[in-house]
């Protein structure tokens, strides 16, 4: 793309589509199609460049990857991040040897060569000794992402380290939900099929109102659904985003969503007895026979799980073509043991979850649970079908979804699976109207058949994702004695780990004999101090690492307090990005929305010495003689979407490169080639979508689009796969995990390793006492993402115009009871003595036993003057250890118990060095 200059004026075009006063000279007036980098959503946008300056962002109206012409405020405000005078423009080196929360780094400008030589020197040494001594990590901030499968984490993985730490993940997103969505939908997350759904239940989720993932198209589709009259029941402690757009807001105590879901399952199975028998028989492991040990009864010859054929009255392997009718009830004797179909066990097991019991813990009235269960079961229309584009499909217009709020507790995995069970028993999974995963099934571009991913059945006939990220939800890997700093290999069901940024990590590492130490960290984009649980615990960990390199566009608490070298990254409006998402299962539009493959491209050229971090990583790879390995990884990755070299996911696939037949890998990049990002993008696009759809085409059109088939949108009955509503694998895993954990001295809540989906009270509830009598939680604000959005003046302005964004909220009556009123400066203190402060705003729409803080505010970085001191940093209150993590998914406990009292100043800013607050 050629940027016009003043002396190379294009022919006179009338100025339309912009507000102009008078007759200013306009020598450059271009709308460039690209993607937004404001959040994970990666909506397609058009950026308007006038006289070399980006003046406006519009949503892209011509494809489905976003709000079709609309955009959110964060996306618009990205202009201000681009032009922020505080941006990092040159490589910087820390001259203050001291590191700490409030330390001034005393940056000194250095050259790129100086920076990269220094980094490469250290990396070389580490790679020779033990690559695991490098910790790499990050979450996509603006400009630092995502490029998920190409940059984000890949460099470190090729380098050979398994220490990949995603800052604040599990805190902001959902370890339990990624595990569960992977297991049940072969996808990263789930969304109601807004187009056809008539009754949606949201548990601690802001789908369509503020969520980051798939935010754009969700907002659009959810609005259509509300306008159409979809019933939307939102269980949430606060009536702000999700609750605020509900047709019925049901206040609930944090961490008890799973119990309400279980109570509804109980009512549906045991009181109403309306469930989708065919779905349970054909699409779940409901018919699989479970022995007295809680595990499958397996065929002695083939080791396949057995089912009972009610027609022939005998046991058969689950996929025996002769089965006449799968029994889902009763007691049988097979292989000399008494056994039951797992569905029978589930149905009996859930009887304990009465709505009355649920009311006690959750405060949701039993009558409400009963009514909603009844309404939901009625709305499910079990047996109904619908015709879409000539295909007759099951029609189940009900959907339950949960995200971070509902499952961000120590019962994360079980609570999320409980919600999935609700969808499963009525067959509302990946069928019209039901709960849809982000597209897990794509047959490929019509011209080439590439960009093809199909879910399939493997071990025990269970659903297996065609591609995934990080870990494979199925088949479950074996448990191992921890050998990484993340220790996640101990529990392979976990998506993300809070370790090593925990207060108990050293205890376990000591017990393991401290096999090695982290000598260097490379962090992309994330704010590892403000956006992770407990800045004290985090500060202690990062402070000990001898050398830290970060890529970022804007100063933040982590860069200032702990980084030794900062490399200036490009802003999304200055950069190429081939993979805005991770693959179709991550963030692509759902249902019959079209297939779109958009790319990001620079709208303006990067100024100063900012560089695209991927090309920087390649420079480093050159210095380490690692470029050929990187190129090979890319070849494998690109080839995998298309079926030949089918691999699990980006980082995972690097680790399994040896398993891949090199003959199936297309050489898009020669081992010795040193190509630019643009060149790689061009080759990948041509490979996927044909020669005519290279970079030139996509630069002009923004994306490659093709229609989706009903079979792809609603794939569930087109693929012969089942889902584990009975989580036998967890029972199977338990013994190994226990054995391996013992070696590290790790104690987990072993009870949660149960195959029968159950409710376990969250840790936060256990810490409630007379003194610490309120639950405190944080939730996503529609105006903010991560921490960097706080530094954008427009967002700051409207945040101040919002009653909740910068304030701590409490129920009006509860505040009154505590002698507090609007505008009071209050302190929240946890039982562990952690304190944070802020301004109180009371509201009716909040559970009386809760205190809430939105977004991730309370900045103290010196280089972020707009964000400084605004709002309240919730994360300060959190603990970080195994006690406060879900044993199965390792999700963090994202709520804390607190006591609330008035205070005279903002103590968490004492020593921050900025204005006294």
């Amino acid at each position: 793309m050629v940027t016009p200059t003043k002396d190379k004026k294009p022919e006179n075009k009338p100025v339309i589509g912009m507000s102009v006063k008078g007759n200013p000279e306009i020598w450059d007036d271009e709308w460039v199609k690209t993607t937004c980098g404001g959040c994970y959503g990666q909506c397609t946008i058009r950026a308007h460049r006038v006289n070399g300056v980006i003046v406006k962002i519009n949503g892209e109206p011509d494809n489905d990857f976003g709000p079709r012409g609309g955009i959110c405020a964060k996306g618009e405000a990205m202009i201000q991040a681009l032009y922020d005078p505080n941006r990092y423009n040159y490589p910087l080196k820390r001259t203050n040897p001291k590191k700490g929360l409030f330390e001034d780094p005393k940056w000194e400008r250095i050259s790129w060569d100086e920076a990269l030589d220094e980094i490469a020197k250290r990396l070389k040494k580490i790679r020779a000794e033990n690559p695991h001594k490098l910790l790499h990590g990050g979450t996509p901030g603006p400009g630092s992402g995502p490029d998920l499968p190409l940059g984000f984490g890949v460099f470190g993985a090729v380098f050979g380290t398994k220490n990949w730490y995603v800052g604040g993940a599990g805190l902001h997103c959902g370890s339990g939900s990624h595990m569960g969505a992977g297991l049940y939908h072969a996808s990263w997350s789930i969304v109601p099929d807004f187009k056809y759904c008539n009754y949606a239940i949201q548990m601690g989720s802001n789908k369509g109102t503020a969520s980051g993932h798939s935010m754009g198209f969700n907002m659009r589709l959810a609005a259509d659904a509300r306008s159409r009259g979809m019933k939307n029941v939102v269980f949430d402690p606060i009536c702000n985003f999700g609750g605020g757009k509900a047709t019925e807001w049901v206040p609930i105590l944090p961490g008890t969503d799973g119990l309400v879901a279980m109570a509804m399952v109980n009512i549906i199975l045991n009181e109403l007895e309306v469930y989708d028998v065919e779905f349970i028989k054909m699409k779940t492991n409901g018919p699989y026979l479970i022995g007295p040990d809680g595990k499958y009864v397996r065929d002695k010859e083939t080791n396949k799980p057995m089912v009972w054929d009610a027609k022939d009255n005998k046991a058969k392997t689950f996929n025996d073509p002769s089965i006449g009718d799968f029994a889902i009830f009763g007691e049988y004797e097979v292989n000399g043991v008494k056994c039951h179909p797992s569905f029978q066990l589930i149905k009996d097991h859930v009887k304990q979850y009465t709505p009355e019991a649920a009311e006690k813990e959750s405060t949701v009235p039993a009558a409400t649970v009963r009514r909603i269960a009844q309404e939901w079961a009625d709305a499910a229309m079990i047996g109904a079908t619908i015709e879409i584009e000539g295909e007759k499909l099951p029609f189940r217009p009900v959907s339950a979804v949960m995200f971070r709020g509902g499952q961000g507790h120590t019962n994360s995995a079980q609570s999320y699976c409980a919600m999935c069970l609700l969808n499963g028993i009525v067959g509302a999974m990946d069928v019209p109207g039901g709960t849809l995963g982000w597209p897990a099934y794509v047959e490929g571009h019509p011209d080439t058949g590439r960009f093809r991913v199909i879910p399939y059945a493997c071990k025990d006939g269970m659903l297996t994702a065609g591609t995934f990220m990080e870990h494979r939800p199925w088949p479950i890997e074996d448990s191992q004695v921890p050998y990484t700093f993340l220790m996640k290999e101990l529990t392979p069901t976990a998506s993300f780990s809070p370790h090593p940024v925990t207060s108990d990590f050293d205890k376990y590492w000591d017990k393991l004999g401290r096999p090695y130490e982290i000598e260097m960290a490379m962090i992309f984009g994330a704010n590892m101090i403000r956006s992770t649980q407990s800045r004290e615990i985090a500060g202690e960990f990062w402070g000990k690492i001898p050398f830290i390199v970060t890529f970022n566009i804007l100063p933040n608490e982590f860069c200032e307090g702990y980084a030794d070298i900062v490399l200036p990254d490009c802003h999304p409006l200055e950069a190429y990005c081939l993979f805005g998402t991770h693959g179709p299962f991550f963030n692509h539009p759902i249902g019959m929305e079209g297939w779109n493959f958009p790319i990001r491209q620079p709208v303006v050229q990067p100024q100063y010495e900012r560089r695209n971090k991927l090309e920087v990583l390649w420079d480093l790879a050159d210095r380490l003689d690692m470029r050929a390995e990187m190129n090979n990884y890319y070849n494998v990755y690109f080839t995998s979407f298309g079926g030949e070299a089918l691999i699990g996911g980006d980082i995972d696939s690097i680790r399994h490169l040896g398993d891949i037949d090199p003959k199936k890998v297309v050489q898009l990049i020669g081992p010795d080639e040193k190509i630019t990002y643009a060149e790689m993008t061009d080759r990948a696009l041509k490979f996927y979508f044909g020669d005519e759809h290279g970079l030139e085409y996509v630069s002009e059109h923004g994306s490659v689009n093709w229609p989706k088939k009903p079979k792809e949108a609603y794939w569930r009955w087109y693929v012969d796969v089942r889902i584990p509503i009975y989580m036998e694998h967890i029972a199977e895993l338990r013994e190994d995990v226990m054995k391996n954990a013992e070696k590290a001295g790790i104690e987990l809540d072993w009870e949660q390793f149960t195959p029968l989906i159950s409710y376990f009270p969250p840790q936060v509830g256990k810490e409630l006492s007379g003194e610490y009598d309120l639950y405190c939680f944080s939730y996503r604000d529609i105006l903010h993402n991560g921490t960097y959005t706080m530094e954008m003046p427009w967002l700051d302005e409207v945040s101040r115009l919002n009653p909740y964004t910068y304030n701590i909220t409490m129920n009006t009556a509860m505040a009154e009871k505590k002698g507090l009123k609007d505008g009071d400066l209050i302190c929240l203190e946890s039982p562990y003595g952690r304190k944070t402060t802020g301004t109180l705003k009371t509201m009716q729409g909040q559970h009386p036993q809760t205190v809430a803080i939105s977004a991730c505010s309370g900045a103290w970085a010196k280089g972020a003057p707009i964000a400084y001191g605004k709002g309240t940093n919730f994360n300060i209150l959190l603990e970080s250890d195994f006690k406060h993590a879900c044993p199965v998914s390792w999700s963090q406990e994202t709520a804390a118990t607190v006591k609330v009292y008035k205070i005279d100043h903002r103590i968490e800013f004492d020593g921050a060095g900025g204005d006294k607050l």
Partner: protein, 293 residues
Amino acid sequence: MSQIKPYDFMVKYQQQKDWIDGRGNFIAFAFFLGGISGGLYLAAAYFDSLLGMFVAWLLSLLMGVSYMAHLSHPFRSWRMFMKPGTSWIARGFIFIMLFIGLTTIQLILSQWVPEATGAITVLKVLAGIFAFAQSIYTGFAVSYVSAIKVWNSAIVPILFVTCGLSGGLAILLAITMGGDHAQLVMLENVIRVVLIALAIIIGVYLWNTTYSSTAASDAVKRLIGGSLALLFWIGVFLFGIAIPIIISITSYFAGEASSGLLITAIVSEIIGGLALRFAILKAGMYTPLLPAE
């Protein structure tokens, strides 16, 4: 109340700021000056006090200055003649200009050509009309604003005129002090009547307004018992009505008041008149756009 939280903008009851905060203060002064200038001219014309009429002319000029000080583009003020058809500010501007113009000629004639009685009388009548107009328009400018319920009352112009008249009379009293005794007594009698009328009008206004709308009754509550109570009871009631009336009634029974007492009454009344404009302007509240909690 003017310090509402940004997120309460038009979500909660909200005081108008544009005609009270910062430069907005000059509007209150201008309205006050317009009122007393008009009142003084009418009284002075009636009692044929050349000095009174001259002071009224000065006060009107001051009103103009105060007005200019309020504008962010005073050099464009000539444009304010453009829309007398619908705008009370435009009308007022014209009234002020005409009043000043007519009074200027009348004063010149009265001072240097006193024999031109015919012309002077005509000018006096014309100037008197615009004196009245200049006084009452300040009330109309306010009462025209239907958005602010406490202002949107037909009583406001009467209130402003009466208040201006009482202030004008007080100034005339000061000018006349030490002069013609009979005139002084007569003036005092008129003042008593006007003061009592003012007290009644204020009472009726508040009473009437209380029942007109929630926003208005809320404003009245703030005036008599809320954040504006001090301004209202001390400024408007004590200075504007109570002290002058007490002194005036005492002097009626005593037959003669000391000049010290009279000066107290005069100053007190002027303070009261100013306080009334501030009180009414500050009481201006907008109705929230969202349903109240």
